[in-house]
Symmetry: C2
Subunit: 457 residues, 2 copies
């Protein structure tokens, strides 16, 4: 009954909630650009004031970069920590926006009402869904839903340099029973989902060196080994003909899906043809015995993200280059060990080097996959809550990318995280004309009210 | 007897000959830069006047670019055509020169006297060796050595755009029994040599396309084929484990060396270790059963001259690129057909393309190898003349690079060419501080006197 009252309150006060979000969106809290440092600070202050007005004990906490906002509500029962970020992406190219990115407004579109402005979806709109759910709860019950900590970052779009040190220094304060992260989307823009599997990422930049200077291919061609050829052979050997990665031990720690998760994914009826067709492709190219969804969410990969060497300008130059370079990254799943794979990769490359060639490596990134322990009761509670709000069975899904914060909650604070979000594929995050559907905002607030009702019991 | 008199005359008049070369070097005839157009014209005029003073019927002949200089001397016996070029390379970076490149002078160096200035070796010093030989001959005999045509180009350093059209329009006038080209060097800076084998060149730029836009490797990695991986596999497959090129039919038309040529090359005692050591290498990397000299002069190659795709800046970007590119070139020998090899290459690439990938090709260059018919008596006569002047057995050698003019004489005018030159490896052609050893100039003039004496009979 009381949940119904909270949901009704959310429906009635949506215009005011939207106005508050628009207020926050007006603050150009671009974290990568020092020119907006004061604006980041102002966004943090805005949030502190908002949370204090709701009865949270909130504070702006300094870091070497932009401040964190931490807020606590006391209470009985489970302790949940909510994470979001108040910083936004830069806005260039500005000429591609059809309105000032920091003069947000509700716009009517053929697909319905949207809130247009930088940060509307990523992540101010999303983090405000949770705060507005708390507000409606308090309006109806006279108190916040229970023992909640909010942890709002201002450096997510600039690499989160202060995040891990801050978490380590404040571990006792930030550790809860479970974390909620609102920075993801609906599955195919319509189905509610909880991300429980995130791929890890390990990158290597390598330089293959042959002769100690660039050579003329008329003079040395055929006699001096060409580093591009060596690099090509290294890259070509990383996959076998079936698309599997050949590094010894690479698949150690890769787990197969449970029948339950496999069934949930099948139930999502993912449109593989559209997914590929959207980018001009017709057939999945990876491991032959996996569906695209399995490949993206549950299988490791090896990709060449960049390659360069020799003459790359107009026309031809018959150079036999001294060096060739590549950036290669691995998406990791399950219990794969990034360090072991880095070592296996380097050993493989070194074994491929002919006489007179040498290699130099630079490691980039080293994050293991995130695999949540979904036996914590909050997972099933949240899944039911989301299914009820959206009228579609919510699923535990994977995420092909890497969301480092989820890994940090696990490795630094020992907490599992539920990644629940309401973004849509066409939200244009990181691009001009970012928007958040009013539907995402409204049903997002309602979703959190339902989740809190079940989880906080 | 009369040859001795000519050689003595050359020795006596060397200072005057050097002064004339220095005069010519003062003219900044840089052909690539339109600012020096009048200077190119002036260099042509200078040569016409010089040749007329020797009794040649000389003229400056217009082209759409810089003029040609053509000069004729009548006479009995074989008709030889001499080719050189009066244009020079640009001089930047000027700050690396230790004197004004167009204020040439004789300098003393630890290795002996040199003529320093742009064009001293490439090619004004070399072409003047022939003109000065004619002058000494005339001084002694009262007449030029016989039926000689000089053909001096002003666009060699800018791609020779007018050369083939001019040769075609003036084929009857320019066709002789044999061509002499003075634009090469001594073997290892000491042994006289006649280049009789020049490698051809065929280049292809290819673009492999996968998805119709760059993708995020978290989103599509493992599902969408990575064009860099396709390109790497294509490049890796072009050579087998023994260094041979795998394209079907590639070795059609590749001839083996005659025992005589092989013996001459062995006699050159080429220092393979130094050749490789100079560029930081220790072992030849090509076909296992060939010496480096054989590989460079007589074997075809396939080199990747450039490769690029994806993100190549600092740090990492987990892009799965839409395109990957490479510039690949083939050095050709013997009777290899550039068109057939281009077709075989394209067919090979197309057969390697997975579903959803396509390729675009751009051809660059298409020159067959030059293989001179050394049974023309002038070859053996010149080889003897050079051996006598230098006190070392002259050899018929190859050239790893491509000297298009030799091919044009063959294909357009049906003439074989002897490439004889006196440059040294440290002449710094195309670089700051270009020089020509006074020894090269002096013995070069004497060499031509001896060659003319034998060939013109």
């Amino acid at each position: 009954m009381s949940l119904d009252a909270v949901l009704a309150r959310i429906d009635e006060t949506l215009p005011q909630a939207t106005d508050r979000l628009i207020d926050l969106l007006r603050i150009p809290s671009i974290s990568t650009d020092p020119a907006f440092k004061a604006d980041c600070d102002r966004a943090a202050d805005w949030l502190v004031a908002e949370l204090e007005s709701l009865g949270f004990e909130a504070s702006k906490r300094p870091t070497p970069g932009h401040p964190m906002v931490v807020a606590h509500a006391a209470g009985e029962g489970p302790h949940v920590l909510f994470y979001g970020h108040y910083d936004v992406q830069p806005v260039d190219p500005l000429n591609l926006w059809h309105r000032d990115p920091f003069d947000p407004a509700i716009e009517e579109t053929p697909k319905g009402q949207v809130i247009r402005g930088r940060g509307a979806s990523d992540d101010k709109g999303q983090l405000m869904t949770f705060i507005e759910a708390c507000r409606a709860w308090k309006d109806v019950h006279g108190a916040l839903p229970g023992r909640i900590t909010l942890f709002l970052e201002g450096e997510e779009e600039s690499g989160s340099p202060s995040l891990v040190p801050f978490m380590k220094e404040n571990a006792a304060e930030l550790t809860a029973d479970i974390a909620l992260i609102c920075d993801t989307g609906l599955f195919e823009s319509k189905s509610p989902a909880i991300v429980t599997m995130l791929r890890g990422l390990m990158g290597e930049e390598l330089t293959i060196r042959g002769a100690d200077k660039d050579l003329h291919s008329g003079m040395y061609g055929g006699v001096a080994m060409n580093p591009i050829r060596v690099l090509a052979r290294i890259i070509a050997g990383l996959h076998d003909d079936t698309g599997r990665i050949t590094l010894p031990g690479f698949y150690d720690g890769v787990t197969e899906l449970s029948d339950e998760i496999r069934a949930q994914w099948q139930n999502l009826a993912f449109d593989h043809a559209r997914f590929l067709g959207d980018v001009g492709l017709s057939e999945p190219a990876g491991e032959q015995d996996r569906t695209p969804l399995e490949m993206i969410w549950s299988r490791p990969t090896c990709e060449v993200n960049g390659i360069w060497g020799g003459y790359t300008g107009d026309g031809f130059k018959t150079v036999l280059p001294s060096e060739a370079h590549a950036k290669i990254s691995f998406r990791l799943v399950g219990q794969q060990d990034p360090n072991a794979i880095r070592e296996a990769f380097r050993a493989y490359v070194e074994a491929q080097l002919p006489t007179d060639c040498e290699v130099e490596f630079h490691g980039h990134g080293n994050s293991a996959a995130g695999q949540m322990q979904i036996d914590h009761p909050a997972f099933e509670q949240a899944r039911q809550a989301l299914s009820e709000e959206w009228g579609l069975a919510a699923a535990y899904v994977g995420c092909g990318g890497s969301i480092p914060i989820a890994g940090y909650f696990k490795t630094v604070l020992g907490m599992d995280a539920m990644l629940i979000g309401f973004g849509k594929d066409d939200d244009q995050i990181h691009s001009p004309n970012e928007k958040y559907d009013v539907e995402s905002f409204h049903k997002g607030i309602r979703s959190w009210a339902r989740v809190l009702e079940k989880v906080m019991g």
